[in-house]
Structure formats: structure tokens, C-alpha cells
């Protein structure tokens, strides 16, 4: 999830365009990490030092790591450690953007430093997928601290993104949220959670995105929206909401129930209070998740 929010960070800071980011997300599965980016990320080398080694490598037949050691930038142990570590997803994204020329090493160094500093992230937090750090990013990114039920919004949306990665795919970028009073789309699926508090959650998008979302979850191919496709999207929402309700029960003793899903075609859902609209840009298009907790 750190990779998706790193992508959003790059986008919001206008370091990449939406098209470049989408292409990089698609390309990163074929990307091999290079030592320079790993060393910059680990804070062992600056972008200038990496550039220096790149230039030096053009006139010397030596591997990048060996040259770094010769020039005194890294120890052999540093090289071994960096090369043995499993690259995290956000680094693969960064490497892809460096490879295709969208970011220079210096841009990457500045971006990764700003991203980690903004969210107070360490490499260990990222490698271990620290839940409290993920929640902190979600809370900050979507401005849930302005909401009355900040904890619930944060917990819900953190789980939602984990389940999007688990069931739909990791090739997405979360976009800036907005506060809305209505949800309006070609296709909407809603489900209500009720009990100690009430939450109404909708998935809303145009037809093509609705079908693509359903195809990802069902691992089937669809050509049109029918009752079955509706139920596939509905089941994603139901599974996600069920897991949320179980977490609330197990961790806080809060007992909640779910209502059956509702399916709306070319309609509007009106909210009495505040609702957060969270757009998510997938490779296949944009899907909105609208959440209202009262």
C-alpha cells in the first residue's frame, strides 16, 4: 500500500503526470532494481554520487557496485546487503520512473526523502507493512482528521485498500478525496452497516469500469452488466464490510450488522450528513468509493 500512496504523492506534487504514473504502474512488474536507487533509498548515497558512478562506469569496465566501493561510496557489505534485500513495491515504482526518464536520480532522491519525511516513515515501517503507519497515511491523505468519526473512517478505508490489493489488484492510485452530499453514477452498489454507529458505503462508476472491476473480483470475463455482474460487485463490498465488522467486534467489542446490498442504475444516493468520496484510479479507469459514517 506504500507504493500506491507514493504514486499519489508523486502525482499530487506534480512530479509525474497521471498518464506517466499509470504506465509506470503497468511497467513495474518487469522492472529490475538497480543498486543506485537502492543506495539512495537507504540513504547510503546521494543522487550526485550515483550520477558520478554512472559517468565513471562509461569509461571503466566494472560493475556499478564495485565502482561504488572503489570510489569509497559503499562498503562491500553495503553492496551485499542492498542486493540481497527484497525490493519493496514503491521502490520498483521509483526505479521504473527513473528508467523511463520521468524522474532523474536527484528527483527520486528528493521525492523519496519528502515522502518518508511527510509520513514519518522508516524503511522498516515500509518493509514490515506497519499497520499503524498505513492508517496514519490514510488519515492524513484523505483528511479524515476533519471528520467526526475519524477513527472509523481511517480503519475502514485502510482495510478497503488492503482488500482492493488482495481482491482487485495493486495497479491503482488513490486520488484526493472530497466531501459530498450525494453519490451519482451510471452504476452504484450500496451497503449499510448498522449498530453502535451507521455507515453507508457505495461503489460508484461508469459501465466499463463497473464491468472491469467485477471481472477482476470474479476472475471471469463479462460483456455487459446483468444481475450476476451486480452481485459480483456487491459481493466485493459485502466481503470487505464483513471483514470490517469482524475487526470491530474482535478488537473493540463493537457489534455491527450488515444489510443486503442495493443496486442502483443511473441514479443518485443522497446522504443526510457528511460523506467522503474517494476516487481510485485503476489501470482500467476510475472507481469511486463513497463512505458516510454517522
Amino acid at each position: 500500500m506504500f507504493a500506491q500512496f507514493f504514486g499519489a504523492f508523486l502525482l499530487n506534487n506534480k512530479l509525474v503526470s497521471p498518464e506517466t504514473l499509470a504506465q509506470a504502474i503497468d511497467d513495474k512488474k518487469n522492472t529490475r532494481m538497480r543498486l543506485g536507487v537502492l543506495a539512495i533509498n537507504a540513504g547510503l548515497m546521494t543522487a550526485d554520487q550515483v550520477e558520478h558512478v554512472n559517468v565513471a562506469q562509461q569509461s571503466v569496465d566494472k560493475r556499478f557496485g564495485d565502482l561504488c566501493v572503489d570510489l569509497g561510496y559503499l562498503t562491500p557489505a553495503d553492496v551485499d546487503r542492498l542486493l540481497s534485500e527484497q525490493p519493496t513495491d514503491y521502490l520498483l515504482l521509483g526505479q521504473t520512473l527513473v528508467n523511463n526518464g520521468s524522474l532523474s536520480n536527484a528527483d527520486f532522491e528528493a521525492a523519496i526523502s519528502a515522502y518518508k519525511s511527510h509520513y514519518q516513515l522508516s524503511d522498516d515501517d515500509i518493509s514490515n507493512n506497519q499497520n499503524d503507519k498505513l492508517s496514519a497515511i490514510v488519515k492524513d491523505f484523505f483528511h479524515f482528521n476533519t471528520a467526526e468519526n475519524a477513527r472509523i473512517y481511517t480503519e475502514y478505508v485502510t482495510l478497503l485498500f488492503k482488500n482492493i490489493i488482495r481482491f482487485i489488484g495493486d495497479d491503482f492510485t488513490p486520488l484526493e478525496s472530497s466531501v459530498v452530499n450525494t453519490a451519482e453514477a451510471e452504476y452504484i452498489v450500496c451497503q449499510t452497516i448498522h449498530g453502535k454507529y451507521n455507515a453507508e458505503i457505495c461503489v460508484a462508476c461508469p459501465k466499463a469500469e463497473y464491468i472491469a472491476f467485477a471481472e477482476r473480483f470474479a476472475k471471469e470475463t463479462f460483456t455487459d452488466v446483468d444481475e450476476y455482474v451486480n452481485e459480483v460487485v456487491g459481493e466485493f463490498l459485502n466481503v470487505n464490510n464483513g471483514l470490517f465488522v469482524v475487526n470491530e467486534s474482535n478488537e473493540l467489542g463493537i457489534e455491527l450488522s450488515l444489510d443486503p446490498q442495493q443496486y442502483i442504475h443511473n441514479g443518485t444516493v443522497k446522504y443526510d450528513g457528511q460523506a467522503f468520496c474517494i476516487p481510485v484510479a485503476f489501470a482500467f479507469g476510475e472507481v469511486e468509493f463513497i463512505i458516510s459514517i454517522s
Binding site: 450476476y228 459481493e235 464483513g242 474482535n250 450488522s257 443486503p260
Partner: protein, 123 residues
């Protein structure tokens, strides 16, 4: 009892959820599979086909899975009903146990857990 002999009833208002679980049961070689799309239909289908095992969703229209479980157990105290729901909260688990549910599986359903339950029933 063998996979080809066992009779299973799938109760879920989601056609997708029934299809997904049904496909897994078929892959095991189970051929006697009936379906119900709500709690009321679950009870009437149970009476009609006398299944060896029932997989029952909780959140369903007309009659919830918990109410359907209650009605089925009143009709047949030996009924084996597995609650298969996205909402596996403590209170639902307690309710299901009190009413005599055979087991509980949390959605998304783990195929290995389902197979283990079926093998236990067939013993």
C-alpha cells in the same frame, strides 16, 4: 459416504457466491448440489431435498441465515448447517453455536476449510 453421494444445499442471496462455492464443490466431484437464494427458500429446499450438509449465508432477504438455521433445526435436530458469512462476529458465532450450527466459515471462503468440513461430514 463419498463425494459423489453427498447432498449439499447452498444458501446465499448472491448468485456469484453460490456459483463460486458450487464450482469448488463440483471440482471435488460433488454432483448433488441444490441452491436457495434466501432464508425462506433455504428452509423449503431443506425439507424437499434432505441434504447431508448446508452452507448458509447470514445476511439474506426474507429470512436471515440465523432464522433459517433455527427453522431447519426445529424441523430436523440432526441437520448439519455450516454458517458461511462475511460477518463472523462474536455475537453471530454465539448465536449460531447456541442454535446448533455445525461450523462457521468466514467469507472469503477458504476452499481447504470447506473440504475439511465436508470430509468430516462424510466420515
Amino acid at each position: 459416504m463419498d463425494f459423489k453421494d453427498i447432498k449439499i444445499l447452498l444458501c446465499d442471496d448472491s448468485m456469484f457466491a453460490r456459483k463460486k462455492l458450487g464450482m469448488f464443490l463440483s471440482s471435488l466431484g460433488i454432483v448433488n448440489i441444490s441452491e436457495a437464494a434466501d432464508g425462506e427458500e433455504a428452509v423449503s429446499k431443506y425439507k424437499e431435498v434432505s441434504p447431508d450438509l448446508v452452507f448458509m449465508d447470514i445476511v439474506m432477504p426474507k429470512l436471515t441465515g440465523i432464522d433459517a438455521l433455527k427453522a431447519i433445526k426445529e424441523f430436523d435436530k440432526n441437520a448439519k448447517v455450516v454458517m458461511a458469512s462475511s460477518v463472523g462476529t462474536q455475537s453471530h458465532l454465539k448465536q449460531a453455536i447456541v442454535l446448533g450450527a455445525y461450523d462457521f466459515v468466514q467469507k472469503p471462503i477458504d476452499d481447504a476449510q470447506v473440504e475439511k468440513i465436508i470430509r468430516n461430514v462424510m466420515k
